[in-house]
Structures are given as structure tokens and as C-alpha cells.
């Protein structure tokens, strides 16, 4: 038997299995990043070069300018930011309160209510478009940003995630705070919430990227420039106005995804870790 170190060395040098793995991993990565690279390529070059890859092609920012001018993207951005932040704010408050009760209170009907909460993990508002549209019509909220956000503000996932987190907080910490005279809200705010900060961050990132990207429900419920979020605005821009000017469409596409993409590239580790954390049940 050879020693473990020499086996490990041999593995690195000779193992074809390993080389195949590296090759596979890189090929897949290139395939996965290709659409983005392609979009960037066409967006920063004149239209003539959108299908010919010539490294000497002149760079231009014109596509972005034209796209920005061709549709009210500023308004769409504002709408999306309003939408995403109001959803997140409501989610944080509502989910925190409910999760606290589910984690640390005993009250009749608790288990049944929690099952109702979990139901939303399966039956998401995304598929209840017909009846939710009807409800919004009754409430007179059609074509408002409120209507886009309302079905998502009480998040079953958020309640579940925070409840799990709160349950891991040692009960002694709460008791120590109670002995010192902290009331319920102080206990929640000074003990539970600070200890759950990483989970809030994770949930926030997931929520923001989800609602930034959401399309179907906003498409249904909005019908004016003043309320449309970026995704809907982009789809209208791409389908109606521009024919097949790929440079323009790709510039617009990049523009709408840019904030998330830039945030992702800057905070890659946190992003990945956040998604990971939110996935651990």
C-alpha cells in the first residue's frame, strides 16, 4: 500500500476522472454565463455587430441611451423600487410578529393556524391569479402598486423561516431580559431580532430578487405606465416597439437586471450564503 500523500498526488496528476470533471464544470459554466456575456456584447456594440463577433468592433453606449429614451424606464424603475421595498417592509414586520408568536407563545389554535401558514409554501399567490384579480377589482385596487404587493406581504415562507430561527434562540436569553424588566416588544426587538439578523438579510435578498423579477401577476393587475414594474415594462418594450433590434432589447434587458446583477456581483458571497441559509430547513 502506498502512503496517502503519494496517492493524493497521483490523483491530481494522472486521474482522468478528475480532468473530465474540470472540463465538464468549465463547459457548463461557460454555457451558463454565455447568455449574459452575449447580452453584454450586443448591448455595447452597434447593431451591425450583434451577430458577428469581431473583437475590433467599436464600443458604444448608444444602445442604452436609445433604450432609456424609447420607454419610460425611469418610471418603471421607480415603480419596481416602490413595489419591492413596500413588500419587503411589510413582510419583515408581519412575518416577525407572527413568527414570534408561533415560536414562543402558546395559544389555542396555534398548530392549525401554522398549518394554514405552511399551505402558502405550496399554493402560492402566483397561481391564484383569477380570484385575486377579482378580489382586487372588488377592493378597487386594480392598476395600483399596492395591488401588486398585497398578496405577497404575508409570506408563509418568511414566517416559517423566522419561526425556525427564533426557536433556536435559547430561552434563557428571553428570561434574562424579562428579569431585567424588558416587555414583550423589547424582548422581540432587543433579543430575538438582533440574533436573527443573518436570516433577515438572507430573507431580504431572496424577497427582493423574487419580487424584482416577478412578472405574471404585475402583468395582469397593472395597465398603465404609472404602476408597471420593470419586468412588465420590459416585456412591452421588447414585444411591441422594437421589432428585432437585438442590441436595443439586450441593452434594455441588461438595464432592468443591472441593479440586481451588480448587487450580486459585489456581494456574491453574501448572496450565495443567504440563499443557502434560507434553504436550510
Amino acid at each position: 500500500m502506498s502512503s496517502p500523500t503519494s496517492t493524493a498526488l497521483a490523483e491530481i496528476k494522472l486521474d482522468p476522472d478528475r480532468w473530465l470533471n474540470i472540463l465538464g464544470a468549465w463547459l457548463l459554466a461557460l454555457m451558463w454565463i454565455l447568455p449574459l456575456i452575449y447580452a453584454i456584447w450586443t448591448a455595447i456594440h452597434p447593431t451591425e455587430y450583434s451577430a458577428t463577433f469581431d473583437l475590433s468592433a467599436p464600443l458604444t453606449f448608444e444602445n442604452f441611451e436609445r433604450a432609456w429614451a424609447a420607454a419610460p424606464f425611469a418610471r418603471y424603475f421607480l415603480n419596481t423600487v416602490l413595489l419591492v421595498s413596500s413588500i419587503l417592509a411589510a413582510q419583515l414586520v408581519l412575518c416577525t410578529l407572527a413568527a414570534f408568536a408561533f415560536a414562543r407563545f402558546e395559544f389555542p389554535g396555534k398548530n392549525f393556524l401554522f398549518v394554514l401558514v405552511l399551505m402558502q409554501l405550496l399554493v402560492m399567490p402566483d397561481i391564484l391569479i383569477v380570484e385575486n384579480y377579482r378580489s382586487m377589482a372588488k377592493l378597487g385596487l386594480i392598476d395600483t402598486i399596492t395591488a401588486i404587493g398585497l398578496p405577497y406581504m404575508a409570506s408563509g415562507f418568511g414566517i416559517f423561516l423566522l419561526r425556525q430561527t427564533f426557536k433556536t434562540v435559547p430561552i434563557e436569553l428571553e428570561e434574562a431580559a424579562r428579569v431585567e424588566g424588558a416587555n414583550l416588544l423589547q424582548i422581540l426587538w432587543k433579543v430575538y431580532v438582533p440574533l436573527a439578523v443573518p436570516v433577515y438579510l438572507a430573507y431580504g435578498l431572496v424577497s427582493v430578487s423574487h419580487h424584482w423579477n416577478n412578472y405574471l401577476w404585475p402583468l395582469i393587475i397593472t395597465n398603465s405606465e404609472e404602476t408597471r414594474p420593470l419586468t412588465v415594462g420590459l416585456s412591452i418594450f421588447a414585444s411591441v416597439d422594437q421589432g428585432v433590434d437585438w442590441s436595443l432589447i439586450n441593452a434594455a434587458t441588461l438595464m432592468t437586471s443591472a441593479p440586481l446583477l451588480v448587487a450580486f456581483l459585489l456581494f456574491q458571497r453574501q448572496f450565495v450564503q443567504s440563499f443557502m441559509r434560507s434553504g436550510i430547513k
Binding site: P170, E172, L173, E175, A176, A177, R178, V179, E180, G181, A182, Q186, K190, V191, P194, L195, V197
Partner: protein
């Protein structure tokens, strides 16, 4: 300084009883230890006093005021947890100041008290650290700091030393006791460790199965155990509890004919003899016994012997070694003997010649 009174306090959960009808007093400024094996109800008793559990029955009085229905913070006491319960997201200073901030004590007062407490506990170099960056002993000090900065007259501690190693535990014992005396706090301290109890307490409340076995000073509990449970719980190795056989007025160790006591009259209650291992000496005369095992402990030796059918452990500083099977002679002083009634486990004081009278009065 405040005195505390438990008046027939009980705590029951659905089917189980944690604490049953306990009554005792804790004098002002005393160091009282609630002692007992795990599950005896000592922590529950402390939590009832803290207000973290509600009583199922009875009253708790602090300075003659009934506090049974009050919330923890209304009882004006501080609490040190077994796990320390330090807030991991706060620095040492913030942890210590937590209660003062909740109660909105003014900033200069906060700073002054923090300075005093951190100097008292040697914590000033660590004030900006997080609990996770501290050693176990330092974390313990932070927990102490949080308890004493409130300057509340009563301090409760729930097994505060159980997470420390033996050396540190000894140091902290001395430190906590000194602190309590210096600040004149009424201290209620829960532990399962009899050494802690004996070395720190003014008063020990020994609990078993949710009931009080005995209340007394450490020396009373050691020298006058009221039950076989107390007798065996205090002292290492535990007291020998040996069943006795009666033949007329003579009491002998079960399975042997060697008399250990002579009664003044006859009595038909089966008895145990209790004798501490350290009270037995091995010599040239006394009861004949066979050595079963021998263990060298450094300053002492432990010898297990057999008399009749019973096993007796002896702890002696006699440095000679003993071989298994060797015959030795055991002797002890009369006042080292404790007698217990076999059925109830309760102490019976047998005085030579007057034992039977005492017994008859004890059974009225």
C-alpha cells in the same frame, strides 16, 4: 437586604409534581443554597422565586410582601443562569448594562456603575469584546456583573459554576462568596454539588423529589443528617448505611454477631447504622472485617471491607497498604454513629441507656 419566605409552595405540571408543599425562610443577607440531585425541584424552586414560573399553590413573600403574582422584574431581583444567558450580539459592556438601559437609568450613572462593577470583577480589559471572545471564567464574570450592577438586594444563581473546570470553579466559589458578603446581597444559589454547598452556604435547603429533606447550616447537615438521603448526599465517599440486626438489647451488623450498640430496652423497629468513612479507624482492635478492595488517593486511602453481609467503606490517612482478603479491625467513636429508622429513613437519636424512651416519644 431582603428576607424571603416560601409558604407551602407547590408547582405541578399536567401530570408531574415538580415541587410539593415546601416552606422555608431565607434570612436577610444570607447565602442560601438549594441543594439536591438533578430533578429534585431545586431549579424550579428558584424559577418560582424569580417569577419565571407561576406557583400552582402557596405563597412567596419578599420582606413580608406577597409577590406570588408579580412579574420577574417587579420582584426586584437579579438572576445568573447556568448557561450565563449572555446576549451574543452585544459587547461585554452592553451585556452588563442591558437592564439599566431597559430601565432608562441615566448615562452618567450607567458609566459610573459599569466602572465600579468591571473593576470589581476585573472585566475592564474586555468591555468591548463579544461574549464569544471570552473564556468560560470571563463569561461567568460578565454574567455576575450583569446581576450585581442592578444593585438589587436579592441575587439568584442557577448552577452558575457547572460549566467551568475544577480549578476555576474553586476560584469562583471564593469570589462569589466574597462578593456576596461585601455587597450584603441575599443570595439564593442552586447547585447539585455538595462541595459548593458546604463551602459557600450559610444555610442549605436540601431537596429531594420536590420536597425538603432538611434545612440547616452546612455543619448541621453534615453532623446531624435527618434522613439517610441527606446522610448519603453530603460527604465523599458517602456515609455507610448499614442495616442492623437486633438480638434482645444488642444491635449487630446484619450477617455478623458483632455488637455495635447496646440498647437500654428492647425495641422492634429495624434500624440502619450510619457511619462516615472518615470516622472509621483501622487498628488492632474493634470489629473484625475482611478487606475487599483498596484504593490509593494520595493523601488518603479508601478501603472497602466486609462485615457480615455488609460492605463498609473506610477513608483513612493510614498510609499502610492492605491486601484483598486481609483481616482488619475497625473502630469508631460512639458519637460518630448515626441511627436511622429503616422504613422511613428518618434519623433516630439513640443514647446509651435512654434510647428506648427517646424512641417512644419520637413515635407519638
Amino acid at each position: 437586604m431582603k428576607n424571603i419566605k416560601f409558604n407551602q409552595v407547590s408547582k405541578r405540571w399536567q401530570e408531574s409534581v415538580a415541587v410539593e408543599d415546601i416552606s422555608f425562610d431565607i434570612p436577610k443577607g444570607s447565602f442560601t443554597v438549594l441543594l439536591g440531585p438533578s430533578g429534585c425541584g431545586k431549579s424550579t424552586t428558584l424559577r418560582l422565586l424569580a417569577g419565571l414560573e407561576s406557583c400552582s399553590g402557596g405563597q412567596i413573600l419578599i420582606d413580608d410582601e406577597d409577590v406570588t403574582q408579580r412579574t420577574p422584574s417587579e420582584r426586584n431581583l437579579s438572576l445568573v443562569f447556568q448557561s450565563y444567558a449572555l446576549f451574543p450580539h452585544l459587547t461585554v459592556a452592553e451585556n452588563i448594562l442591558f437592564g439599566l438601559k431597559i430601565r432608562k437609568v441615566n448615562k452618567t450613572e450607567q458609566a459610573a456603575r459599569l466602572k465600579r462593577v468591571s473593576e470589581l470583577l476585573n472585566l475592564h480589559p474586555y468591555l468591548d469584546r463579544k461574549p464569544a471572545q471570552l473564556s468560560g471564567g470571563q463569561q461567568q464574570r460578565v454574567a455576575l456583573g450583569r446581576a450585581i450592577i442592578s444593585e438589587r438586594p436579592i441575587c439568584l444563581m442557577d448552577e452558575p459554576l457547572s460549566n467551568l473546570d475544577a480549578k476555576l470553579r474553586h476560584e469562583m466559589r471564593v469570589e462569589i462568596r466574597a462578593l456576596q458578603q461585601k455587597l450584603g446581597i441575599t443570595m439564593v444559589y442552586v447547585t447539585h454539588d455538595q462541595v459548593e454547598a458546604i463551602s459557600m452556604a450559610d444555610q442549605i435547603v436540601l431537596l429531594n423529589n420536590g420536597r425538603i429533606e432538611q434545612i440547616g447550616s452546612p455543619s448541621e447537615i453534615y453532623s446531624q443528617p435527618q434522613t439517610t438521603f441527606v446522610a448519603r448526599f453530603i460527604g465523599t465517599p458517602p456515609m455507610n448505611i448499614i442495616p442492623l440486626q437486633q438480638k434482645g438489647k444488642s444491635l449487630a451488623i446484619a450477617g455478623s454477631k458483632q455488637q455495635v450498640h447496646e440498647l437500654s430496652g428492647s425495641m422492634d423497629i429495624p434500624l440502619f447504622l450510619g457511619i462516615r468513612p472518615e470516622d472509621i479507624s483501622i487498628g488492632k482492635f474493634g470489629l473484625k472485617a475482611q478487606v475487599l478492595a483498596f484504593e490509593f488517593l494520595g493523601s488518603d486511602v479508601l478501603v472497602d471491607c466486609q462485615i457480615g453481609t455488609e460492605k463498609i467503606t473506610i477513608r483513612t490517612d493510614n498510609q499502610s497498604s492492605f491486601a484483598t482478603g486481609e483481616t482488619v479491625f475497625l473502630s469508631w467513636k460512639d458519637r460518630a454513629c448515626h441511627y436511622f429508622e429503616q422504613n422511613s429513613g428518618r434519623r433516630i437519636d439513640l443514647m446509651p441507656g435512654v434510647a428506648s424512651q427517646l424512641l417512644s416519644s419520637a413515635y407519638e
